[in-house]
């Protein structure tokens, strides 16, 4: 008994640290979502029951946020996933002459802060910037990306793919690396190449791991508040505002902590479902 307590001491330290700074706020989010808490009544908020949630589902803007979140997932996730898969297969396919450079460039986006990336891209598309001049020549009319709803949606989606595809590639590479080389070599000897090699040999072996990658990309896309804030700020109006961004504007800008918490709970439930799927899929590694 004593020994088993002693051999869990470190874990206990870690978990209590995690609980204090992450767990307690996460749990009390549920309580805050039932109150009208704001800066002026921090210690004694009024209990409102489900009012925030009723307001949430009956609000037009929230429904739009939800739909746009789905739209984002529907467009960004498949493209990111496929790009990650193609690049990973490409980088994994033996001898390539630019491979070291390619793999270095793949990790660099992770090192580059989103703000810096947004700073540089937004300039290119700003009125008078090189890309918007080019677009004007191609389209024949000036397109103001940041005030045009469709333009800013497409702009946001392209950028999200750009920043998440390298990460998807890394995940997929680690999934692919679990396939033993000998299996692939044996299949090659039997005449399996290219797409048939992938479909009949590699895919069945890493199906579960690819599903994990897919769930990770979905989670990152739904929760991508930082990237969206940096690229479009949710605008124009609230055209590119997802739920995560809405939570930020509601909570941080307008100090509607109670309402922001109820959006947070909504997102947390989505995250919980996705995470449960992950846990079921993940074998002990």
């Amino acid at each position: 008994m004593l020994k088993s307590i002693r051999s869990h001491c470190g874990l206990a330290i870690l978990l209590s640290y995690y609980l204090i700074f992450i767990g307690v706020p996460a749990i009390s989010l549920f309580y805050f979502s039932l109150t009208d808490i704001t800066v002026s009544n921090l210690t004694n908020p009024t209990f409102l029951g489900l009012t925030n949630y009723i307001k949430m589902v009956s609000e037009e803007r929230f429904v739009y946020n939800l739909l746009f979140t789905f739209e984002l997932v529907a467009y960004v996730v498949p493209i990111t996933f496929l790009m990650g898969l193609v690049f990973a297969l490409f980088l994994n396919s033996g001898k390539l002459f630019l491979k070291p450079i390619a793999s270095l460039l793949l990790v660099l986006p992770w090192v580059t802060p989103i703000v810096a990336w947004a700073m540089s891209v937004r300039y290119l598309f700003a009125p008078g910037g090189p890309y918007s001049i080019l677009l004007e020549k191609v389209l024949g009319f000036p397109l103001r990306i940041f005030s045009d709803p469709v333009g800013s949606k497409i702009f946001l989606m392209i950028n999200l793919v750009w920043i998440s595809a390298p990460q998807a590639t890394l995940f997929t590479i680690s999934a692919l690396s679990s396939v033993p080389r000998s299996v692939i070599e044996a299949a090659r000897l039997d005449g399996a190449y290219g797409i048939s090699l992938f479909r009949h040999i590699i895919l069945p072996l890493i199906k579960e791991k690819l599903l994990i990658v897919l769930i990770l990309i979905i989670t990152f896309t739904i929760m991508a508040a930082e990237a969206i804030l940096a690229f479009t700020g949710g605008g124009p109006g609230f055209v590119t505002e997802t739920l995560a961004v809405r939570m930020y504007t509601e909570g941080r800008m307008f100090h509607n902590f109670g309402y922001a918490s109820s959006i947070g709970v909504f997102l947390l439930i989505i995250a919980f479902i996705l995470g449960l799927m992950l846990l079921l899929l993940a074998k002990e590694r």
Partner: protein, 264 residues
């Protein structure tokens, strides 16, 4: 059937187009940061000189360093014992932790930032750098513990047993045998946390308000919102270049060890 060579060439081209789209804006930004006109390239260090002599920006830089270094350093005492147990002991709890910890980063804790904000307002950690450090380090602690455990597991147990047979005490065992052997893991995780914390602004955007405690990423984000309507673009570009430099340098130096962590 399309010949294999052509497919490969196509994918290569696609890949490098993708990378070009990623690299071109940053290259452009770097070039323009040496200029004083919005769209024309010239070469002057004026932006950088005025930036590095402005106490405001130096303060942002200092805050960012404090938060990133603090979050990375706190991981070692908090996570190392746990990492050791994950690698060396066996129980149901530890088996569960081994299964869950690698995915702890996938939990989108940005969702609870409102709640953290309320807590920090109540207990007085709001608008302090230490509060930021606590949140960042707690967020990545399980993952870092798991990284440590993979490195510890790769050490043969025999080394520790041999040292103990030769009369090596527990403390000495840890500090003279185990720690030096897992140094790549420790440093890799340190740099990994540092870069992550350095680059993130959303946590600071929630938890920091006053000008003197703003971190660099947050300052750039604030600049981003008003700068596009004109103004000191080139100055902001120079600030961005300075902002990118520390993570880039760290990454280039410790590349091998970080890639081991990224491709886990």
């Amino acid at each position: 059937m399309i010949p294999r060579k052509i497919v490969q060439a196509l994918v290569t081209v696609l890949f490098f187009i993708f990378l070009a789209f990623w690299i071109y804006p940053l290259l452009n930004l770097t070039l323009l940061s040496f200029s004083t006109k919005t769209y024309t390239v010239e070469f002057t260090l004026r932006n950088y000189i005025s930036l590095l002599s402005s106490p405001r920006y130096l303060n942002y830089l200092k805050n960012s360093f404090i938060v990133a270094l603090g979050s990375a350093a706190i991981q070692i005492p908090v996570c190392l014992p746990a990492g050791y147990e994950l690698a060396r002991h066996k129980s149901k709890v530890i088996a569960f932790a081994n299964r869950f910890f690698p995915f702890s980063l996938a939990i989108p804790w940005t969702v609870i930032l409102v709640s953290v904000l309320i807590y920090y307002l109540r207990i007085g950690l709001y608008d302090t750098l230490i509060g930021l450090i606590f949140h960042h380090s707690a967020f990545s602690a399980p993952f870092v513990a798991w990284i440590y455990s993979t490195f510890i597991r790769s050490l043969p147990k025999d080394i520790e047993e041999a040292a103990q047979l030769d009369g090596c005490g527990k403390a000495r065992l840890i500090f003279q045998i185990t720690l030096p052997l897992i140094a790549p893991g420790l440093i890799g995780a340190f740099v990994w946390v540092f870069i992550n914390v350095w680059n993130t602004f959303i946590v600071a955007a929630f938890l920091i308000e006053s000008e003197e405690n703003i971190v660099f990423a947050q300052a750039l984000y604030n600049a981003l919102t008003y700068i596009m309507s004109g103004g000191m673009l080139n100055f902001a570009y120079a600030a961005t270049v300075i902002f990118i430099t520390p993570p880039m340098i760290l990454f280039i130096i410790f590349r091998k060890w970080i890639e081991q962590i990224l491709i886990y």
